[in-house]
C-alpha cells in the first residue's frame, strides 16, 4: 500500500490508454481520423467534429508554459508538504492544453512561454503523472 495521499486519477475505459502510456513514460494523445484534431483529455467522441474514430498517437511531449501559479498555500490539504509548488497549464506543441506541475526548477524561475518537455513521475506503483520540466 502506497502512502501517497494526494488525489489520484481513476481511469475510465476512454482514458486508460493515456495512463498506461504514461506508465511506460510516453505521452500519447488521441487524434481524430476524421478531422485530424489532436484531442486532450481523452474522449469517446472528437470535440471538434463529434466523430467516434479517435486513434492514439505518441506525441513529442514538447510544449510551452501557457500560465502558472505558485501555490503558497496548499490547494488541497494533501499538498501541504509541497508548498511552494507550481500548478500550470502547458500548451502542447500539438495544440491541446494540459493541467500539470512544473518540476526541475525553482518556482520563481517559471515564466509564461518557457519551453518545457514532459517528464514522468511514478507517484505510486500503479500511477504515473505527466509533469513538465524546462528544456
Amino acid at each position: 500500500m502506497s502512502d501517497y495521499k494526494k488525489p489520484l486519477p481513476r481511469p475510465t475505459t476512454a482514458s486508460l490508454p493515456f495512463w498506461q502510456a504514461a506508465k511506460q513514460h510516453e505521452l500519447q494523445l488521441q487524434r481524430c481520423t476524421q478531422c485530424g484534431a489532436h484531442v486532450f483529455y481523452p474522449r469517446e467522441v472528437c470535440p471538434e467534429c463529434l466523430a467516434s474514430d479517435l486513434q492514439w498517437v505518441k506525441v513529442s511531449g514538447k510544449g510551452t508554459v501557457y500560465s502558472y501559479t505558485i501555490a503558497q498555500a496548499p490547494t488541497h490539504p494533501a499538498f501541504v508538504e509541497d508548498v511552494p509548488y507550481i500548478v500550470a497549464i502547458v500548451e502542447l506543441a500539438e495544440g491541446p492544453h494540459v493541467t500539470t506541475n512544473i518540476t526541475g526548477c525553482k518556482p520563481n524561475e517559471v515564466k509564461i512561454g518557457m519551453p518545457v518537455v514532459a517528464t514522468f513521475d511514478d507517484v505510486t506503483p500503479e500511477v504515473t503523472l505527466v509533469k513538465f520540466r524546462p528544456v
Partner: protein, 387 residues
C-alpha cells in the same frame, strides 16, 4: 418575441452573511428569505406559482426543486433548478421572465440559500466533475483559487496588469461595504498596502483578493410587467439578458483572458438596446479581484487589457464616477456558497428601487449585473432598469 421589459423584480430579501453554519440549514435559510421576499413584494404565499432555486453546497441532493417546493408547501406551475454556479441568481431572472411571458406562470419565487459548515463540507463534499478529478486534481488544480490565479497571471503577462491595480478593486469595494451593515467585512476600510501585504495564497492572488465562504442566502420575486404595477416598490424591469458557457475546467477555456462575459454582455446590451456607457452602476460577480477586471473589459466598459488601469483611475464607490458592487461585493459582503450570486442581483434591484440607504447611487435608473460561475465557466449578464 423578446422578454425585454416583460417582467420585473418587485421584492427581495437577504440574510446577513454569517461565519460558520450559524445554526442554519440551507432549507431553513431558503424558508426565511422566501417569507421575507414575498412580504416585501406585498404578496401572500398563494400568489407564488413559479419556483426557481439552485443547489446548495451545504445540502446537496437530486430533485432539489421538489424538496424546496415541499419544504415551503408551494405548488408551482413552473419550477426548476438553475445550476450555473455563481451565475444561477442572474440566470433565474431571465428564466422567470421567459416562463411568465410564455404563460407558464405569473409570479416566480427565485431563491438560494447555502450554509458553510466545514464539517459537513469535509465529510460530504458535493460531487465535482469526474474529468477534473482525473486530469486536474492530481496536479493540485482544485476548487477556484488556483484557476483564477492562472487567469490573473496570464492577464498580467498579456497586458501588464499590476498587483496594485487588482488590489484597488478590493479597497474601493470595502468602502462600499462600510456603508452596508449586513456585510461580513464592513467594519474597517483597507488600503492597497493592506491587500498587498496580506498573505499570498496562490500567486499573484493575496488573501484580501479572495472571497471568504460563509452562510447566507437571498430571494427575489419576479412577476409580469403588468402585475408589477401593483407592487409597493418601484418595479425593476429586466431590459436585457445574455448568457454564455463552454468549459468547466479553466484549462479547457478557449481563452484565459477574454472570457465568456463578452458574448453574455453583448446579448444583454443588444436586447436592451443600450450600451455600457448608459449604466449608472455595475454589480459584477467578484469572487476575486481579477474577476472584476476581466468582466469590466469583456462587458465593454473599457477596452481589452485596460481593466487594471480602468479600476485604478476610477472611483468604484457608491458615490464615485463608476459605482461598482455597491454592497461591498462578495469580497467584503461574504460569499454564501452557491447563493453568492444573489447579492449582485439584489443590490442591483435595491439601488434601482431607491432603497440603497447610505450607499444609494444618486438618480440610478439603469444598471448592469453579471453572474459568474465556476472558473469563468458560466456567465449571465443582465441590464435592469426602472424606465
Amino acid at each position: 418575441m423578446s422578454i425585454k421589459k416583460k417582467a420585473a423584480i418587485i421584492g427581495f430579501a437577504e440574510m446577513a452573511p454569517q461565519k460558520g453554519a450559524a445554526g442554519k440549514t440551507p432549507l431553513g435559510i431558503i424558508g426565511e428569505v422566501a417569507r421575507e421576499a414575498i412580504a416585501d413584494a406585498g404578496l401572500e404565499k398563494k400568489a407564488i406559482d413559479g419556483l426557481l432555486t439552485g443547489m446548495a453546497i451545504g445540502e446537496y441532493s437530486v430533485l432539489w426543486p421538489s424538496v424546496v417546493a415541499e419544504y415551503l408547501k408551494l405548488q408551482p406551475r413552473y419550477f426548476n433548478q438553475v445550476e450555473l454556479g455563481g451565475a444561477s441568481a442572474a440566470g433565474m431572472v431571465w428564466r422567470a421572465a421567459a416562463a411568465i411571458e410564455a404563460g407558464m406562470c405569473n409570479t416566480v419565487l427565485c431563491v438560494l440559500g447555502d450554509s458553510w459548515d466545514s464539517k459537513i463540507i469535509g465529510s460530504k463534499p458535493p460531487p465535482f466533475p469526474r474529468i477534473e478529478a482525473e486530469f486536474d486534481a492530481p496536479y493540485g488544480l482544485i476548487a477556484a483559487n488556483p484557476g483564477y490565479a492562472l487567469i490573473a497571471r496570464r492577464h498580467m503577462h498579456e497586458f501588464g496588469t499590476k498587483p496594485e491595480q487588482m488590489a484597488k478593486v478590493a479597497v474601493d469595494q470595502r468602502k462600499n461595504a462600510c456603508k452596508n451593515s449586513t456585510a461580513l467585512f464592513g467594519h474597517k476600510e483597507i488600503t492597497i498596502d493592506d491587500v498587498l501585504n496580506s498573505r499570498m495564497i496562490v500567486e499573484p492572488l493575496h488573501l484580501l483578493e479572495i472571497v471568504s465562504p460563509c452562510t447566507g442566502g437571498g430571494a427575489f420575486i419576479v412577476t409580469s410587467a403588468e402585475r408589477a404595477q401593483q407592487s409597493p416598490h418601484r418595479p425593476v424591469y429586466l431590459l436585457g439578458a445574455g448568457e454564455a458557457g463552454g468549459h468547466s475546467s479553466i484549462t479547457h477555456a478557449r481563452s484565459l483572458t477574454t472570457s465568456l462575459v463578452k458574448p453574455a454582455a453583448e446579448g444583454a446590451f443588444s436586447m436592451a438596446d443600450v450600451s455600457p456607457k448608459d449604466m449608472n452602476f455595475v454589480q459584477p460577480y467578484d469572487c476575486y479581484t481579477i474577476t472584476v477586471i476581466v468582466t469590466l473589459e469583456d462587458a465593454g466598459f473599457c477596452r481589452k487589457g485596460a481593466g487594471g488601469r480602468f479600476v485604478a483611475e476610477h472611483d468604484l464607490t457608491y458615490k464615485g464616477d463608476f459605482p461598482c458592487n455597491t454592497h461591498g461585493g462578495q469580497l467584503s459582503f461574504g460569499q454564501p456558497g452557491l447563493a453568492g450570486g444573489m447579492s449582485h442581483v439584489i443590490e442591483g434591484a435595491r439601488q434601482l428601487m431607491g432603497r440603497g440607504g447610505e450607499r444609494q447611487v444618486k438618480d440610478a435608473t439603469i444598471g448592469y449585473v453579471n453572474g459568474n460561475g465556476g472558473i469563468m465557466s458560466e456567465q449571465c449578464s443582465l441590464v435592469l432598469g426602472v424606465q
